[in-house]
């Protein structure tokens, strides 16, 4: 399967990856090769087969709706790129 440059640009944008034109071209060639490999799947007849999302067919455990985590804000913010007054700082979103 051959992906177009536009396909790759769209995927990069969705994945929040900034890529230069040469990077897009390299990715296009490599992803096309990988999708050739993946294309083998399409010929398989899977009518009536339930999708298997997980190795163990278990239902999700439930727990009591109570607070179990302790406050570790200082420990977590000690490794953050930029914090101030207990808040994570990012560039201005709303003018």
């Amino acid at each position: 399967m051959s992906l177009s440059t536009q396909d790759v640009e769209k995927v990069a944008r969705l994945a929040r990856l900034a890529m230069t034109a040469p990077e897009i071209e390299t990715a296009r060639a490599q992803l096309s090769g990988i999708f050739d490999l993946i294309a083998e799947m399409q010929a398989v007849n899977t009518a009536g087969i339930e999708p298997m999302s997980h190795a163990q067919d278990l239902s999700q455990r439930l727990r009591e709706d109570v607070v179990t985590e302790t406050n570790q804000r200082e420990a977590f913010q000690a490794i953050a790129p930029q914090v101030e007054a207990g808040l994570y700082l990012v560039p201005k979103v709303i003018e």
Partner: protein
């Protein structure tokens, strides 16, 4: 001392023949001498390791030691360990000193084991050669021009070179078994859900599983006894009674039925690997086992299915790395969206970006049914192949990898060639079964060959028995590379 089993080390520590501080220092000295040539460790922290060793010595003196108390164990750098730099092989986490312990790490800490250091790995565990690590490729101690396998390549190299007594790995598509095979050591990926994923940096959550890597099946049993266990912080951790994985080690193998899948011995398997694996099967017949021909007809499809499902889960898991709360943030950016894009583009390496893009594509509008759902359906067919096969046999055996360790850079530019080398290991993850690799000889260029043993669900104790009996009859697992 470096050739002692974990049991012998434990006995020596409890008999006060050596202290944990002395043993830890011996390993740290050996690492200092040999790690520069192998690059098996990303982070060493002798101060923290020796502090743990002093605490272990106090526990040994008080007579409250467990099987692993005082023994130096290396940890794959995918496991968060409090106070330790935890990079997952990525620039994205180059400055991430974990504020908490993974469940597996706390299990080792509770046992009194020493964290000897964090081992190198493919970036976010995505790779089969350990060449995608931001911290440089790991060398195979049997031939430093060759790869150790991946993604747990640092662990495999360190165990083979005796730069730790044992270590941990994780296996999403073969990342414990393939490097174990390529470095001539033993490694076990348990049934999905046996070891908690809490604090293990996520790659593909429905496939990721932690497991032990060491020099013998007997060592692996002791390690798994420590690593396994229910943990409510992992929603897929299994609630099961505690078991002793060493309980069946000494059972004879009379009557064991070994299934040999014809698809594992077909085109693509190196003749040197085939010879060593066939010799191992012959040894098992001498030990009383019988052989049954079986078929896993969807083996070939496991690669395309895996390379849809694992990247899909990865693209979702890795969306958390955005430069806001921890990890790498780009120095220059124009606005919030640009900060995300620049941080991710600069923080992730090429293979990780490739897989994020595959995953993003297959999950995007219009392609979801054709790729993601179709892959999940074939996943069930692959799992059913094993259910059918286990009606006729007790364990399945075959090669772990189609070839022995290849040269560094040999498969560098072609991701598809690298992906195809996972052909014998991936189906086991998709089905959620336990699998292991043990050394069974040497191929061309005198590089180690691994025998893969695949068990039925929760059959780890039997697999360890099967591996241990082979290791009592052979000495491949005792061979060590000249450093």
């Amino acid at each position: 001392m470096f050739e002692s089993s974990l049991k012998q080390l434990g006995d020596a520590l409890r008999a006060k023949k050596i202290s944990s501080v002395e043993l830890t220092q011996l390993y740290l000295d050996r690492i200092a001498a040999h790690n520069p040539a192998l690059n098996a460790y990303i982070t060493l922290n002798p101060e923290m390791s020796l502090a743990q060793a002093r605490a272990a010595d106090a526990r040994l003196a008080a007579g409250s030691a467990d099987a692993l108390t005082g023994i130096p164990v290396a940890q794959k750098d995918i496991f968060c360990a409090k106070g330790w730099l935890t990079t997952c092989g990525s620039k994205m986490l180059h400055n991430f000193v974990s504020p908490y312990d993974a469940h597996v790490i706390s299990q080792f800490n509770n046992a009194g084991a020493i964290n000897l250091g964090k081992t190198n790995m493919d970036e976010f565990a995505m790779g089969s050669s350990n060449e995608t690590s931001y911290y440089g490729a790991v060398k195979n101690p049997w031939d430093k021009a060759r790869v150790p396998g991946g993604s747990s390549g640092g662990t495999a190299s360190a165990v083979a070179a005796r730069l730790c007594a044992a270590a941990t790995g994780t296996d999403t598509g073969g990342s414990i078994r393939q490097p174990a095979a390529l470095c001539g050591i033993s490694g076990l990926k348990p049934t999905y859900g046996v070891c908690s994923r809490y604090g293990m940096i996520a790659f593909a959550s429905s496939l990721d599983q932690a497991g032990p890597m060491g020099r013998s099946a007997e060592d692996l049993a002791l390690l798994l006894n420590t690593m396994a266990g229910f943990d409510e912080r992992d929603s897929t951790s299994l609630q099961r009674d505690k078991e002793d994985y060493a309980r069946d080690l000494n059972k004879p193998l009379n009557g064991l039925r070994i299934g040999l899948p014809k698809e594992f011995f077909a085109e693509g398997l190196g003749s040197d690997v085939a010879r060593a694996v066939e010799a191992a099967i012959a040894e098992y017949k001498k030990l009383g086992a019988t052989v049954v021909d079986i078929s896993l007809p969807n083996t070939r499809l496991s690669i395309p299915v895996y390379y849809v499902l694992a990247p899909a889960e990865a693209s979702s898991n890795l969306s958390r790395f955005d430069g806001v709360r921890y990890g790498y943030r780009a120095p220059d950016y124009s606005d919030l969206a640009d900060m995300y894009e620049q941080s991710r583009s600069q923080g992730f390496g090429a293979e990780v970006k490739r897989r994020i893009m595959i995953g993003t594509y297959v999950l995007s509008h219009g392609y979801y049914d054709a790729y993601y759902i179709q892959a999940q359906k074939i996943r069930r067919l692959i799992a059913q192949d094993f259910v059918e096969a286990y009606k006729h046999c007790d364990v399945i055996m075959g090669p772990t990898s189609p070839s022995t360790a290849f040269k560094l850079g040999e498969k560098g530019d072609d991701p598809v060639q690298m992906y195809l080398s996972d052909i014998y290991t991936i189906a086991v993850n998709l089905a959620g079964l336990p699998g292991m690799s043990i050394p069974c000889g040497f191929g061309d260029n005198d590089m180690p060959v691994g025998l893969q043993i695949i068990g039925n669900y929760f059959d780890e104790a039997r697999m360890l028995n099967v591996a241990h009996q082979y290791q009592l009859a052979t000495d491949w697992h005792n061979r060590a590379p000249q450093l």
